[in-house]
């Protein structure tokens, strides 16, 4: 039995060394189709690489920090907030687990007086894999990444993180530079991504659906709210506008509102506060076009000003 236990330990150690080597080699050499559980896409979508680079080089303190999903980096146009110093740290499908990881890294650096946290029910229902991969590929990885990976507990996240550590160690991303304009998207300094103006063809959602919130995401969300409050930073929770047909296709919106308000932070659901036109103000079912962004930000600025007083 002693020999068995000894060999088991030795084999685990051997695996812990050999497995990352194999992951690194295959991530580096093989195409994605042959390494499906490594999904390292630097500069893939939403200009995350450029946004995080800007955050890393930021000096001073912010008036407002925006957090959240693509509704954040496509919804809060940092040019629309007059003389307020703002930064948008949104990322694609950012769930509370990733928000937490980003706060670990950037909260002290950005030092905001106020946080506007975009809460989209979909991100509370998600496992958070997509957004984790986005952060792993576009940021330098550290122990916070490992913590995030354990919280997500998904093989794709583990493998991509191992490969991310390998790329960081050998500085393989050093020569990477992300273009400011990619397809329809243009990166605006401060973290906003502007989409060329297009209009959404309204559709009805015949099937009613329910938001089913993930327990793990709820737990992390609660810890984020507590953490921000403990730091005495003003917190505003915002449900950004989505098309009314998409919004109404969910039967438990009131439940979500109740869940968010139970955290005793200022909360605004813009789907009930703003009257926007699905075709004129959106470019798809849940993203505002530039006209919509303008309307949304105008109202939000009023609330921020009110809050300052």
């Amino acid at each position: 039995m002693k020999q068995f236990a000894k060999n088991i330990v030795l084999f685990i150690v051997f695996t812990c060394i050999a497995y990352p080597i194999l992951i690194s080699i295959s991530g580096y050499l093989l195409p994605q189709k042959l390494s499906p559980n490594i999904n390292y896409r630097i500069g893939s979508y939403g200009h995350m690489y450029t946004r995080l680079n800007e955050a890393k080089n930021f000096k001073g303190e912010l008036d407002v920090l925006f957090l959240g999903s693509s509704h954040s980096y496509r919804g809060f146009d940092t040019r629309n907030f007059n003389d307020l110093k703002t930064f948008n740290l949104g990322s694609s499908a950012q769930t509370p687990i990733q928000t937490n990881a980003l706060l670990d890294r950037y909260l002290d650096k950005l030092n905001p007086k106020m946080i506007v946290y975009e809460v989209y029910p979909n991100t509370f229902t998600s496992d958070g894999v997509e957004s984790s991969l986005d952060i792993i590929a576009n940021d330098k990885n550290d122990l916070n990444s490992l913590e995030m990976a354990f919280e997500i507990n998904h093989i794709k996240v583990y493998n991509t993180l191992i490969y991310g550590f390998f790329r960081d160690a050998f500085e393989l991303n050093k020569s990477f530079s992300e273009p400011i304009k990619k397809g329809e998207d243009t990166y605006i300094p401060g973290g906003f991504v502007q989409r060329n103006i297009t209009y959404f063809k309204h559709i009805d959602y015949p099937e009613k659906d329910e938001w089913k919130l993930n327990e793990e995401q709820i737990k992390v969300f609660e810890s984020i709210v507590k953490r921000i409050k403990d730091k005495k930073i003003k917190l505003m929770l915002v449900y950004a506008p989505i098309t009314s047909s998409y919004y109404k296709s969910h039967t438990n919106n009131a439940y979500f509102d109740k869940f968010i308000t139970s955290h005793h932070a200022e909360y605004y659901n813009f789907n009930t506060m703003l009257t926007l036109n699905d075709s004129l103000h959106f470019y798809d079912s849940n993203h505002l076009n530039q006209n919509g962004v303008r309307e949304f930000n105008k109202k939000l600025l009023e609330l921020i000003d009110l809050n300052k007083k």
């Binding site: 039995m1 020999q3 068995f4 060999n7 084999f11 051997f14 695996t15 050999a18 497995y19 194999l22 992951i23 295959s26 189709k33 042959l34 390494s35 499906p36 559980n37 490594i38 894999v129 998904h154 093989i155 794709k156 583990y158 493998n159």
Partner: protein
């Protein structure tokens, strides 16, 4: 709790440590631990059905004792038939009642009589076909005087409920497993290492081969009317490897796990896709079920002795019952029937026991004749699997007619073709390893046994790497859990 889940990865080491470090001095304590662990394992599926399992165990234990305790043949017969009736009754109610009710209603509707059959809305208790057959073999063996009734209830319960085999076999025999449960077991290093190796290979088969093939097999079978003949052939091939990887993978994990506890279970698979005829295939596929039917149905019916008509009848009965055992659907019956038809020429020409040894023994490559026979047998098996996988007979027929269409020789096309190429590469790797290890109990049993430890371990890490790289993100239940 699935074998390919994190829960099981935690559960197994805990039981292993308790078994060898806490209860190792006392056989009784070891068996109580195995029984508790097995009931916990089963309760993780659905605790309500635990009572059914316990009742079934108690019934066979009690009737076994009763049969042994009476001299009167009539009384013995009574207890025997009571056990058979209740065991098959449970199986009939849970597994077949709705099928018979619906089939009866459909038959009447063909005659113009419309009835609304009373169907039961119950879920099938996981593993019921397996543990019922365990119990049945025990009761039949006692009745036939092959074994004596087990007096120790815990030992008997472990025989029925031992967690590695509880939900999908192998279907054990009292003559094989009970003596091992009653004997003091001591830790055997090479057995334990062998067990871990077999678990690893089972996980590879399930996670890498079966689950990846399932993705494409499901896509193609579920939308078969949209695809060309060549794509349908590919879909059938994917299912062929899915079901083999799934079920033999499960069996490997079960056997490996049992070996960690010093228990040897019956071998369930022995490289069936390298068979040169259908008779050989059935000696290598789901061996514990085939031999169960052979011993408790085919031979009592007269087996292959007697008149030709009787031999043909027996062959059809055993294959059709075997098909029906898999599920309450006509597709399984046709699948069984088809295999009987494949088997018949061999039986009639007395060639059904021609290929007893593994192909190309002690050689690297098969002879051209063997190779051709392997391909032919494999092709026939693939054809039969279409019925096994199809939703209903109509689906199977339309699938087959889709294959034999003009576009059979076109290039296959379906969503995810790129990913399918990597799955095909994995299947080729899998076939190569299985071929190399075909003379052993499982493919990687002896692979690397003559090379240095770092090289051997590198091979195991390569398998772990492939599991990590091709693991589908959702835990997929094993196909045979539904039977």
């Amino acid at each position: 709790m699935l074998f390919n889940s994190i829960d099981f990865a935690i559960f197994l080491p805990i039981i292993f440590i308790l078994y060898w470090f806490v209860t190792n001095k006392n056989l009784k304590a070891q068996n109580i631990l195995l029984l508790t662990a097995s009931y916990f394992f089963y309760a993780c599926w659905d605790w309500r059905f635990l009572f059914l399992l316990m009742f079934s165990t108690l019934l066979d234990y009690y009737t076994g004792l009763k049969m042994c305790g009476v001299q009167d043949q009539k009384a013995k017969k009574f207890w025997f038939w009571l056990s058979i009736f209740i065991n098959l009754g449970f199986l009939g109610v849970f597994k077949y009642y709705n099928f018979f009710a619906d089939s009866f209603a459909e038959a009447l509707s063909q005659l113009g009589v419309q009835i609304n059959p009373l169907t039961l809305s119950v879920i099938l208790p996981v593993g019921i076909s397996f543990y019922t057959f365990h119990g049945l073999s025990y009761v039949i063996d006692i009745y036939k005087g092959r074994v004596k009734a087990e007096r120790n209830f815990v030992d008997y319960s472990v025989f029925v409920s031992f967690f590695p085999l509880l939900v999908a076999g192998p279907i054990e025999r009292a003559t094989h497993l009970l003596p091992q449960i009653k004997k003091k077991r001591s830790f055997d290093y090479s057995k334990a290492v062998d067990g871990l190796r077999q678990i690893l290979w089972g996980l590879f088969k399930k996670i890498v081969i079966a689950d990846n093939c399932a993705f494409f097999a499901n896509e193609i079978f579920n939308n078969s009317s949209d695809y060309s003949g060549s794509t349908l052939v590919l879909g059938a091939l994917f299912f062929t490897f899915q079901i083999y990887g799934d079920f033999s993978g499960y069996s490997d994990i079960a056997l490996g796990t049992a070996r960690l506890f010093g228990i040897e279970l019956l071998q369930n698979f022995s490289f069936p896709y390298f068979s040169r005829d259908i008779a050989e295939f059935w000696r290598r596929w789901h061996i514990s079920l085939s031999t169960w039917f052979r011993d408790y149905l085919y031979i009592p019916l007269g087996g292959s002795s007697g008149e030709t008509v009787m031999r043909i009848r027996n062959t059809f009965i055993i294959f059709i019952v075997s098909g029906f055992w898999h599920g309450a659907n006509w597709t399984f019956i046709i699948w069984g029937l088809l295999n009987a038809l494949y088997f018949l020429p061999l039986l009639l020409t007395n060639k059904n026991r021609k290929n007893m040894e593994i192909v190309a023994k002690s050689r690297f490559l098969p002879s051209p004749k063997d190779f051709f026979n392997i391909l032919l047998t494999f092709g026939l098996t693939v054809l039969a699997w279409i019925f096994f996988r199809a939703e209903n007979i109509g689906h199977a027929i339309s699938y087959l007619s889709g294959i034999f269409s003009l576009d059979l020789f076109s290039v296959p096309k379906f969503p995810g073709m790129g990913k399918a190429l990597s799955t095909i590469l994995l299947i080729l790797f899998f076939i190569a390893i299985e071929w190399m290890g075909r003379e052993n109990k499982y493919a990687i049993e002896k692979i690397g046994s003559k090379v240095s430890r770092p090289l051997r371990w590198s091979f195991y890490v390569l398998i772990i790497f492939l599991i990590g790289m091709f693991l589908e993100t959702e835990e997929t239940p094993f196909i045979y859990f539904q039977f």
